[in-house]
């Protein structure tokens, strides 16, 4: 069959494709597909389906899945098709199977056998088809079934087979490195393959291998360098050229590998300088692909041991990218700048205005990339501007994924470079306010830690000032609607600790606010827990200061409500609060000392005070405690018993051994359950510090307490406590202290504060404005200010005239086609002009000679696309000479085209028609088959006349014409 098909495809199939192609909405498409599913379900069970027909059914199944519906009812037929003797059918079968099944599907086992057989085939195309399937369908368990054959095929005489075999091996390495660890030398061997295709493919696994373990491939640096040199010198066959550049994709991969190998290795890097320098010089900077290679060079240069000359070349490339009008190049420029900035920080300053332009660009992609760059160049002098901008941007976007990302960047920068505590707290407040739910809980703890401990300065007044300003700001914010939970937790904690500390606010004012919070967020138990504990601290503080506690009625209501809460944690906190209030001042002072939040609490993990008790229990016949490490699978069961879900070791999968040790779980039951002593054994204390464990307890205060709290309920002694060092002194007061410590435990004593006082970096000196004489040009003062604050020094004015001008103008196509520029200009008012890249084609070389008498003038008038018009002229040339014959051949008249034209003009999409003669060609031919257009086709490209004729025949067979709903279907992709 010819490449255009039509023959062998049934009317049914053509109709299906046609209707899918013309479906105007997703609903319509779904309806078609659902109908198709019914048809196929019926058809597939019919006996004696001819093979060709079956192949078509399989493709229709592929359509069904591609359009988002389940076609699993037909999988088995695809599997069967892989057994077929015909190569075309077999390959279609394999294709369908790889699209339908993942490597763990049950049906794979039926295919492995076929694959094994096909790998041995004499027909290398069958072997290739099987190897394709191997890459997609073989999982870790089935690797051994095909591995020997794949290894054998590495030496196959056909290069196509060797290439696919090496990729199969690559796949095995990805799936299970250990299964092929002894075969790694094969990758090295294939690197020296005679065929450049095999060599090029081998670079893929090698890139992975080098990425994983650089050191064992250092010896290959010489080889890679020499290959790259040869590629760059155009030694590979011409067929690998892409837009006149020798094998650019291979060059790019080699540069990636070299970048990895040369990283931090002076000796290896020195071997690369020459070839990378060569590529910098040789590469065509006017084409996309040339710039892609240059960009990869910059990446390589910034990764390997620095070389001044190469850095200079890289800087030139970056400058060109940033000045370009193409957003793609700007994007790469910003990215490359971010890479190079580590090596030569001064380079950023040259491009400050370009960077700011990118930052303010409406294009989100560019903006984000620029934020990445700013993140890299943040220092204490510009952190405020950068973080400020980041937060503004964060507030403006909706994408949670990116919001989280940028929030974590903000927090990281703020913690690292904060110029003052005040600023830090304010910044954090903004972050929490707008994205509190996306912030890691740890950040909140760091903030609390900071407020509790300060930045470590000795100045006490500063310290107090920090706290009171935090309290002030929180009291301001607290009324705002819908604050994130994490932020409220911080607010409650700070108000509880420091709300009344400076005497500015009365206890009743603060407690009133806390009650409001607890009421407003009554669904959030964590917040309520924080609020009630904060209340307790404030009352304790009041009592310790000798004042009488005046509990507001609303607080009283809250406490009562909480002591009847469904949450045992809240209930407990409420009871504790009531108990504390009932105590005398001295005791309260002891259990809740003021400002002790950051005191370290020592924990003796051995819980020695329990020893007596344990011995007594053992004497009474209790089973001795078996440490977790000595227990087998039983442990998880016992955890579940005690409802302590948090501590279940996550590593437990299915257990295959029998459940031995049946006595173990019954331990708590056999011991007399009445005594308090034995009930302690119900408490899961394999890790006695569980409740005090800094992170676990901190991050989930309510739930981490829930488990033990329920145990406590069974003891029906509200006052009883668990697993605390203070356990033995079972007074309510100690328990209150314990509870408070839990909250205070928020500030783990592990020195988590990464916040350091602003230290100016040595690097800053390079930004001093002393170096240049500058004159002001027309750049908005706003931008200048931004530049100054971002880049330290005053902006470098000399660049502005060029940059400022360039960036203001609308983006222009980068292509250099002479004919293109005017066409583009004309197309500009059209709603959606085709992307400039489309036109950037080497193939569009048909000479557009002056117009003759134009019988298609109507067309020109109807289609308001100049591009189309010009191309029409183009085939008029041809038609003038050959038109009559061709027309006779088809017996069609030119009027059909006119009709076609009319149809087109009635369709909105006309505007989008891609220029170039070929689009007109297909359009015209589909309209009624005007052969002139086909002649043009022949003119413009290879032996396409036949193709086009067939296509046309097909189109007519289907009865599709451009007046139908979707004329786009016929549009040439390459204009």
């Amino acid at each position: 069959m010819g490449s255009q098909g039509g023959i062998g495809q049934s009317k049914e199939f053509l109709d299906l494709v046609k209707s899918i192609g013309e479906a105007r909405s997703k609903a319509e498409e779904d309806r078609i597909v659902l109908g198709e599913i019914e048809t196929l379900k019926r058809r597939l069970v019919e006996p004696g389906i001819p093979k060709r027909k079956m192949k078509e059914y399989i493709i229709r199944l592929v359509y069904i899945e591609m359009l988002g519906h389940d076609a699993s009812f037909g999988y088995i037929h695809a599997v069967k098709m892989t057994h077929d003797d015909s190569l075309f059918l077999k390959r279609t079968g394999y294709l369908a199977v790889t699209l339908f099944l993942n490597e763990d599907h049950d049906l794979i086992i039926l295919i492995v056998n076929t694959i094994q057989k096909d790998l041995k085939s004499d027909n290398f195309l069958i072997v290739c088809a099987a190897l394709n399937a191997v890459c997609k369908l073989i999982n870790e368990e089935t690797i051994p079934a095909v591995l020997p054959q794949v290894v054998e095929l590495l030496g196959h005489q056909k290069e196509a087979v060797r290439k696919k075999a090496i990729m199969a091996l690559h796949r095995f390495h990805q799936k299970s490195p250990s299964s092929v660890s002894h075969l790694v030398s094969n990758f090295r061997k294939r690197l020296c393959d005679n065929d450049p295709g095999v060599m090029g493919a081998t670079l893929c696994p090698l890139l992975d291998l080098v990425n994983r373990d650089v050191s064992s491939f250092k010896d290959l640096v010489v080889s890679f360098v020499s290959i790259l040199k040869q590629v760059a010198e155009h030694r590979l066959p011409k067929t690998y050229d892409y837009h006149q550049l020798p094998a650019p994709f291979i060059q790019i991969r080699l540069l990636k590998i070299l970048g990895l190998l040369g990283s931090g290795d002076k000796q290896a890097s020195e071997q690369m300088y020459m070839v990378v320098g060569d590529i910098f010089r040789k590469c065509d900077s006017s084409s996309n692909i040339g710039n892609a290679v240059l960009y990869q060079c910059v990446c390589c240069v910034s990764s390997i041991h620095p070389n001044p000359k190469l850095l200079e070349s890289a800087a030139d490339v970056i400058a060109r990218f940033l000045k370009s009008d193409s957003h793609n190049l700007k994007y790469l420029g910003i990215d490359a700048l971010g890479r190079l900035i580590k090596l030569s920080p001064e380079i950023a300053e040259q491009h400050q205005l370009a960077v700011i332009d990118c930052l303010e660009d409406p294009d989100d992609t560019l903006k984000r990339k620029t934020f990445e760059l700013l993140h890299k160049m943040t220092k204490s002098s510009n952190v405020e501007v950068i973080v400020d901008r980041m937060i503004d941007y964060m507030i403006s976007i909706n994408d949670n994924h990116y919001k989280t990302d940028i929030v974590s960047r903000c927090v990281e920068l703020a913690e690292q470079f904060a110029p003052s505590n005040q600023w830090f707290i304010q910044t954090m407040n903004r972050v929490f306010e707008h994205a509190g739910d996306l912030v890691n809980i740890k950040v909140a703890h760091n903030l609390m830690h900071l407020i509790a401990e300060g930045f470590g300065e000795d100045d006490d007044t500063e310290y107090t000032h920090l706290r009171s300003s935090a309290v002030d700001s929180y009291l301001r914010i607290i009324g705002a609607p819908k604050l994130p939970s994490v932020f409220l937790q911080v607010i409650c904690w700070v108000l509880g600790e420091y709300g009344t500390a400076d005497g500015k606010y009365s206890a009743s004012y603060i407690t009133g606010k806390l009650c409001d919070v607890a009421e407003a967020y009554s669904n959030d138990e964590t917040v309520k827990a924080y609020a009630v504990t904060a209340l307790m601290k404030i009352y304790a503080c009041e009592m310790a200061a000798g004042r009488t506690v005046d509990i507001l009625p609303e607080c009283q209501t809250l406490i009562e409500e909480l002591s009847a809460s469904h949450s045992t944690d809240l209930q407990q906190r409420a009871y504790e609060l009531q108990a504390v209030i009932a105590l005398d001042a001295q005791t309260v002072e002891n259990i809740l000392p003021s400002d002790a939040s950051s005191k370290e609490i020592e924990i003796d993990k051995n819980l020695p005070f329990l020893n007596d008790h344990v011995e007594r229990a053992i004497e009474k016949g209790a089973q001795p405690y078996i440490p977790e490490s000595e227990r087998s699978g039983f442990s998880s069961a016992s955890y579940l018993n005690s409802q302590d879900l948090h501590e279940v070791p996550p590593s437990h999968g299915l257990r295959f051994e029998a459940y031995e040790l049946p006595k173990q779980p019954s331990v708590p039951l056999t011991t007399p359950p009445v005594s308090i002593g034995s009930s302690n054994e119900l408490i899961p204390v394999p890790e006695p510090t569980y409740n005090r464990g800094t992170q676990a307890a901190v991050s989930l205060p309510s739930s981490s307490n829930a488990g033990p709290a329920e145990v406590k309920l069974r003891l029906d002694g509200v006052q009883k406590r668990w697993g605390r060092p203070t356990y033995s002194s079972s007074s309510a007061s100690t328990s209150a202290a314990a509870s408070q410590d839990t909250i205070n435990g928020v500030t783990p004593p592990d020195g988590a504060t990464t916040v350091t006082p602003a230290i100016s970096k040595g690097r800053e000196t390079t930004y001093e404005p002393t170096r240049k004489t500058q004159q002001a040009v027309e750049i908005s003062p706003e931008k200048q200010k931004l530049a100054a604050s971002l880049f330290g020094g005053s902006s470098k004015q000399e660049r502005k005239s060029s940059l400022g001008g360039g960036h203001k103008t609308a983006a222009k196509p980068t292509g250099g086609h002479a004919a293109e520029a005017p066409a583009k200009k004309m197309a500009a008012p059209v709603q959606q002009p085709p992307p400039p890249d489309l036109l950037d084609l080497g193939e569009m070389t048909v000479a557009t000679t002056g117009p003759l008498i134009d019988p298609f003038k109507q067309l020109e008038g109807l289609l308001d696309s100049v591009e189309l018009a010009s191309s029409t002229k183009n085939h008029v040339d041809v038609s003038a000479a050959k038109g009559p014959d061709a027309m006779a051949f088809y017996g069609d008249s030119a009027t059909t085209v006119e009709q076609g034209g009319h149809h087109f003009s009635s369709i909105d999409d006309v505007d989008n028609l891609v220029s170039g003669l070929s689009s007109a060609t297909t359009d015209a031919s589909s309209g009624g088959g005007i052969p002139t257009s086909q002649l043009t086709t022949q003119n413009s490209k290879g032996p396409n006349l036949k193709d086009a004729l067939q296509k046309d025949a097909l189109v007519r067979q289907m009865g599709v014409n451009p007046s139908s709903q979707n004329p786009n279907l016929f549009k040439d992709l390459l204009g």
């Binding site: 997703k26 988002g68 290739c128 690559h170 493919a201 893929c204 790019i252 016929f970 204009g975």
Partner: protein, 143 residues
């Protein structure tokens, strides 16, 4: 890994070809296609041909009414992928002759075969048009 998926979608958002190099369930595919097509189709001609999505990037290019979308890892050279798309279109054009959306629809399996020659395990393994097309031409001759 490099390339995670290659999609061809027309400007109504209808999928014309989909090839994934990591396994996703039907629902995941549907969701992903919906999200990224919406994202890419909303962009204008001046903007970058690159879009960040979750933890990877999409490089896209429009030809007539058809969008080619390639999902790649973050360390991939975006511009090279953009040119890879073009190479793919050029290759299809050489095979089909003035390739249009309908060619891909009628010969879905052949478009897939070309991709199979060009990309394996998410890596670009072949960029020579004659090497890509010769197995397909041979196959056509024998059948």
């Amino acid at each position: 890994m490099g390339i995670r998926f290659i999609l061809m979608v027309n400007k109504q958002g209808q999928t014309r070809l989909a090839q994934y190099y990591e396994w996703l369930t039907l629902e995941e595919r549907r969701a992903i296609e919906g999200e990224i097509v919406r994202k890419c189709l909303a962009r204008n001609e001046q903007q970058c041909s690159f879009v960040e999505h979750r933890n990877y990037k999409i490089v896209y290019r429009r030809y007539a009414s058809l969008f080619f979308l390639v999902g790649v890892d973050n360390d991939e050279n975006e511009l090279a992928i953009l040119e890879f798309i073009h190479l793919l279109v050029e290759t299809m054009d050489r095979h089909f002759g003035n390739v249009c959306e309908l060619d891909i629809m009628f010969h879905l399996e052949k478009a897939h075969f070309m991709l199979e020659e060009m990309v394996m395990n998410g890596c670009i393994v072949e960029t020579s048009k004659s090497n890509i097309l010769s197995p397909i031409q041979l196959m056509e001759k024998t059948s």
